[in-house]
Amino acid sequence: MTIKGKAYIAGIYEHPTRHAPDKSTAQLHAEVAKGAIEDAGLTKADIDGYFCAGDAPGGVMPMVDYLGLKVRHFDSTDTGGCSYLVHLGHAAEAIAAGKCSIALVTLAGKPRTGPMPPRSSGAEADFELAYGATTHNVYGMCAMRHMHDYGTTSEQLAWIKVAASHHAQYNPHAMLKEVVTVEDVLNSPMISDPLHRMDCCVVTDGGGAMIVTTPEIAKSLKKPLVRLIGHGEAMKGPRGGKDLDLTYSAGVWSGPRAFEEAGVTPKDIKYASIYDSFTITVLMQLEDIGFCKKGEGGKFVADGNLISGVGKLPFNTDGGGLCSNHPVNRGGMTKILEAVRQLRGEAHPKVQVKNCDLAIAHGTGGLLGVRHAASTCILERV
């Protein structure tokens, strides 16, 4: 049993807002749902599957009621920012099994307008909560150890932000459109060593949505055909504290599974959407899913290698989470959306990859240095 080629992404929509004090979170979900349904050329009544995560107010039952959906399949798996990359894989499984035929996946929220609810915790609460783990300092700890073990430098990390900024200048909706240099990144204030402010992603209100459907229905619609040909997911945590190693992520397991199912290798990939909550997130993911050897990510990302039209692996050509959008502090959805734009040939002409027929969208969710999930999706233009 494989999901290879059994599900197509027929509709996408990214909300243009980056600050939405005048809208409700549920309203943003509805607006992105409407956008994706219209992009596919479908109507709401066609939707028979719905996927959402922890950002959906009240969870899946209130959302289905609010949106006025009638569904026969639903899934509210929450693995933080990569939830939507997990949902894409799960939607493909459900479609392949005949459990639904047109699935809607939504993400939306307003962290820029107001504070987010605290992260929930598990059995570890008494043993960890007092120590003030935040996204910044936990990813900082990953970067600190990566530098110690492999000689990775702040200059190399800065190149990731520089590449994202080169792409963001062409995205009219990007929150940060200014092209920056390695020196700009190094001169930005230290937030949590060794990560500077420009090593961190933006905080934005907004959202995105996609429609996942069967090959037959996708072919009956008018959009260029984009299908999922491989998916992998995995989790990693400190697991009792044995052999702790913060220099790799669960991507070391999700990536190979996805490539094996797709029957392709990292060398075949023309465009990569890589989750960029921080620069170190990108560097570790590129190593973990096989674009370079472990420890060689610093050399791989340096000197513009991730800039479209310049380097060997164009990444996050919308400007990514580092410059454009990181709605609800969850970047998985926008990773899929830009990969689909590239495969459709709908990216900005200045960053569109020529003959882009194979792309990857990969992300992690939760806290990379603590408990996290990873999901890898390999997408093909038909």
């Binding site: 043993f127 110690h148 009792g240 702790l244």
Partner: protein, 129 residues
């Protein structure tokens, strides 16, 4: 300063209460599985490695080294050093390094456990030796 900081009181539960009772005596406890021999932290009743229920409490030395750390430059309660430290007995755990010159911390640096008060049982932290 770390000493003035108000830390949350451990909620505790039947599975972990022995840890917090020992903490009140200044003893830092870990769990060890007598079936596979592996120690682990934080404590579970069932071994996370071999899934045996033959786990026992063991007093740890309180000695550790820094695996990694990050200096949180700004927060509502001031700067702090978060870290993963590796105990002499093997397991690594998340903590803060306190009573130290934060700019001189280094991976591999030797530490010992120190306790900070809460309204209930004290919490374990680490400081350079």
């Amino acid at each position: 300063m770390a000493d003035a900081k108000k830390y949350p009181t451990p909620v505790t539960n039947p599975e972990t209460s022995a840890f917090w009772e020992a903490a009140k005596q200044g003893k830092f406890m870990i769990k060890r599985c007598t079936a596979c021999g592996e120690p682990h932290y934080f404590p579970r009743s069932i071994c996370p490695f071999c899934f045996s229920d033959k786990t026992v409490w063991e007093e740890a030395s309180g000695e550790a080294v820094i695996y990694t750390f990050s200096l949180m430059r700004k927060s509502a309660t001031g700067p702090y050093a978060i870290a993963y430290v590796t105990l002499k007995e093997g397991p690594s755990l998340q903590t803060n390094i306190v009573d130290c010159d934060m700019d001189k911390l280094k991976i591999g640096q030797k530490l010992k456990v120190v306790w900070q008060p809460t309204d209930g049982a004290p919490l374990p932290f680490f400081t350079p030796v």
